[in-house]
């Protein structure tokens, strides 16, 4: 291209188009993106930011429902809440963490199959993955109560296989029942949040160019190595978003613990719920919420930093 010399342009010509490009876009046009943002910003302001501020102020109030609450900057509530309910916090993180890992172990192979092997069944299987959402969350969880019920088929089978002997020794179940034990709660959490794991995993696996698998095979990688060195690293964005979408709501969940667990399996969500709605100790409930939020935020930040997925997406 450098060899061809353009004929000298007539001198008057360039002036015209330049004026056009220099003209500022009208103020109205420049503001359009902001106008489009406005509804979302208002929504977040009214339904997220304001309640958050309100909660924050509640958490440092003292008083009672009868006499009314007053902001007294009583930070002791946080200390007390943490002291009284740390077992529930630990349990929440433990249950949510276990459920997240189970979701990953169950969801990854399924997402992999949908993305690479399902062929024309792909859409059908995807619909099946989200099919549980057609039923209410509560009903689905209640169904698990029946599935895991004492004397039910699941318990019978586990009993016959002596699985319950092992799990009860580990403290996950009782020797003859599954319902109202930690395992029941973790099962419920795993089941309820599985689609939130599968869908992001599927999206990121599906985006992987199939030719990369061929290239890895061509470069002496066995199928197992190809998965370890190519497929899995490339699916990290899905793993990260899937685990976040599972872990964060699971750690604040209380429905599973309420319906499938017992008083010994209470999660922090149950405590917050009962403080708000039954004990009516609003400051403690608000403080608990903030502590949970802080813990999750810290863990997530640390996790995202560690998994180093920034330049993958």
């Amino acid at each position: 291209m450098s060899l061809t010399e353009a004929p000298p342009a007539p001198p008057a010509q360039p002036e015209e188009p330049r004026k056009l490009t220099l003209r500022k876009p009208s103020t109205r046009k420049r503001l359009i993106p902001y106008w489009l943002l406005l509804p979302g910003i208002l929504w977040l302001l009214v339904f997220f930011a304001l309640p958050l501020v309100y909660q924050a102020s509640t958490s440092v109030q003292t008083g009672s429902l009868e006499q009314g609450f007053e902001v007294t900057w009583h930070f002791q509530t946080y200390v007390d809440a943490l002291r009284d309910y740390y077992p529930q916090f630990i349990r929440s993180l433990l249950y949510a963490g276990t459920a997240t890992i189970l979701c990953l172990l169950l969801g990854y192979p399924l997402a992999y199959l949908i993305a690479f092997k399902a062929g024309r069944w792909r859409n059908l299987v995807l619909v099946l993955v989200i099919a549980p959402f057609f039923t209410s969350f509560l009903i689905r969880t209640l169904a698990w109560k029946t599935i895991l019920a004492d004397g039910g088929a699941v318990v019978d089978v586990l009993n016959t296989l002596h699985v319950l002997d092992v799990t009860s020794w580990l403290g996950w179940t009782e020797s003859n029942r599954v319902l109202a034990t930690p395992m029941a709660v973790v099962c419920g959490l795993t089941y309820n949040f599985l689609p939130f794991m599968i869908l992001p995993l599927y999206t990121s696996l599906e985006r992987i160019d199939g030719r990369l698998h061929e290239a890895a095979g061509d470069l002496y990688a066995t199928p197992a190595t190809t998965f370890r060195k190519v497929t899995f690293p490339l699916s990290m964005p899905g793993v990260v978003s899937g685990t976040l979408l599972t872990f964060i709501p699971a750690s604040g969940d209380y429905v599973n613990a309420e319906l499938l667990g017992s008083t010994d399996t209470k999660m922090v969500g149950s405590v917050i719920q009962s403080q708000f709605l039954r004990v009516l100790d609003y400051p403690t409930a608000a403080a608990l919420s903030f502590i949970l939020m802080a813990i999750v935020l810290l863990m997530v930040t640390f996790y995202i930093r560690r998994s180093g997925t920034e330049d993958l997406v």
Binding site: A215, A216, D218, L219, A221
Partner: protein, 383 residues
């Protein structure tokens, strides 16, 4: 062909074929690629050339037949056990690994720990030394292409397979990379099997070209030989341009005399690939650049013994180095003639009566029982 002859790093395909359901992508095919050669599989899209390549790589399972590499049967080996490497059409670089790790991938998989020196040398060979720590998406198309070549070559494969490696590059870069690849091939001496739909690319780079059409190899040979002596209409039309004139053999001897378009044309008998019985039909072929144009008034100056066809210019276009004429004549409605722009005859404009003449030795003969237009649609149109 005996086993001894194909020892070394030869690729030998014996009766290899591929069918998908009822569709046959590659007809049973025998092909030998000698070690150290630059071999091109040339054809329009869907002719089975890529499928053939993928069967050598092991990425596609052959329906029938055997793939030998250096005398060893590798038909049932998975790709990761074959000593061949591929440069993929879209390069298929690993986006999460930097250039060094992309290039080192094959070495690491074979358990080689100290890869640095080899990777540096290889990046030097493809002139990408400064880009070692970049990610593939930070490189231009031509650079990515060279990384793909480096990633494959570093493993010292017995055969390097190139699947339309230049297809994604613009014309100028493509020309540059063609020379680059040729240089690398000469330097490392590895067998290259190159798949392309670009006949110019195949002819510039390869020692041997196999022209494929409809899952078959139409003709195989050195580029110049294919161009000068096409044996089918497809090869004649697909490689460059040919004027094909239908005629009837009137006398056989040292030279064949063929009645075509109201006149008589001769061609050497050995340049005819069709049966040469008197009275048989024949297609005469002549390349446009071999034809000279004379204005009808100068017809007497044409040397005796030349093949002549009279006609009228219907179109002419000035290309720079040459002028391309389309001539209407009884022998064919659109004969192509390329004239070098040495001394332009100003009378040769559309509408002018002209005499086309050429040395009979440049004429080739083809079997008339073929589609005269096979391969004539340009590749761009076919895709």
């Amino acid at each position: 062909m005996t086993q001894q002859q194909t020892a070394g790093g030869d690729v030998r395909l014996v009766g290899i074929s591929k069918t998908y359901g009822s569709f046959t992508a590659v007809q049973p095919l025998d092909l030998t690629v000698p070690q150290g050669s630059f071999f091109a599989l040339l054809g329009a899209s869907g002719c089975g050339k890529t499928t053939t390549l993928r069967m050598i790589a092991g990425l596609e399972e052959a329906t029938t037949g055997t793939v030998y590499l250096g005398g060893k049967d590798i038909t049932d080996l998975p790709p990761y056990k074959r000593p061949v490497n591929t440069v993929f059409q879209s390069y298929a670089l690993f986006p999460h690994l930097d250039i060094t790790e992309n290039v080192a991938f094959g070495l690491r998989r074979r358990g080689i720990k100290s890869v640095k020196k080899q990777v540096d040398d290889m990046l030097e060979l493809v002139q990408l030394g400064d880009f070692a720590r970049r990610k593939p998406h930070q490189l231009s198309g031509g650079q990515q292409q060279r990384v793909a070549v480096a990633r494959a070559l570093i493993n010292h494969p017995q055969v390097l397979l190139l699947d339309e490696p230049l297809g994604a590059l613009d014309l100028k870069l493509r020309r540059q990379m063609q020379l680059e690849l040729k240089r690398i091939q000469t330097e490392v001496g590895i067998t290259f099997v190159h798949v392309t739909h670009d006949q110019e690319e195949a002819m510039t780079m390869a020692d041997t070209v196999a022209v494929m059409n409809g899952g078959r190899v139409e003709q195989l040979g050195a580029p110049a030989d294919l161009y000068e002596n096409p044996r089918t209409t497809f090869v004649a039309n697909f490689l460059g341009t040919s004027n094909l004139i239908a005629g009837e053999i009137v006398s056989t001897g040292e030279d064949l005399v063929v009645a075509a378009g109201g006149g008589k044309l001769t061609l050497p008998r050995e340049r005819c690939s069709a049966p040469t019985t008197s009275g048989g039909r024949l297609l005469l072929g002549i390349r446009p650049e071999k034809i000279s144009l004379a204005h009808a008034d100068d017809a007497d100056d044409i040397a005796a013994g030349c093949n002549r066809v009279t006609g009228r210019i219907t179109d002419s276009s000035f290309i720079g180095v040459s002028t391309q004429y389309v001539v209407e004549s009884p022998a064919g409605t659109a004969l192509q003639v390329y004239e070098q722009n040495i001394e332009r005859d100003s009378r040769l404009t559309p509408g002018a009566e002209v005499v086309l003449h050429w040395n009979p030795a440049h004429t080739f003969g083809l079997d008339a029982a073929q589609d005269i237009d096979a391969g004539a649609t340009s590749v761009e149109d076919a895709e």
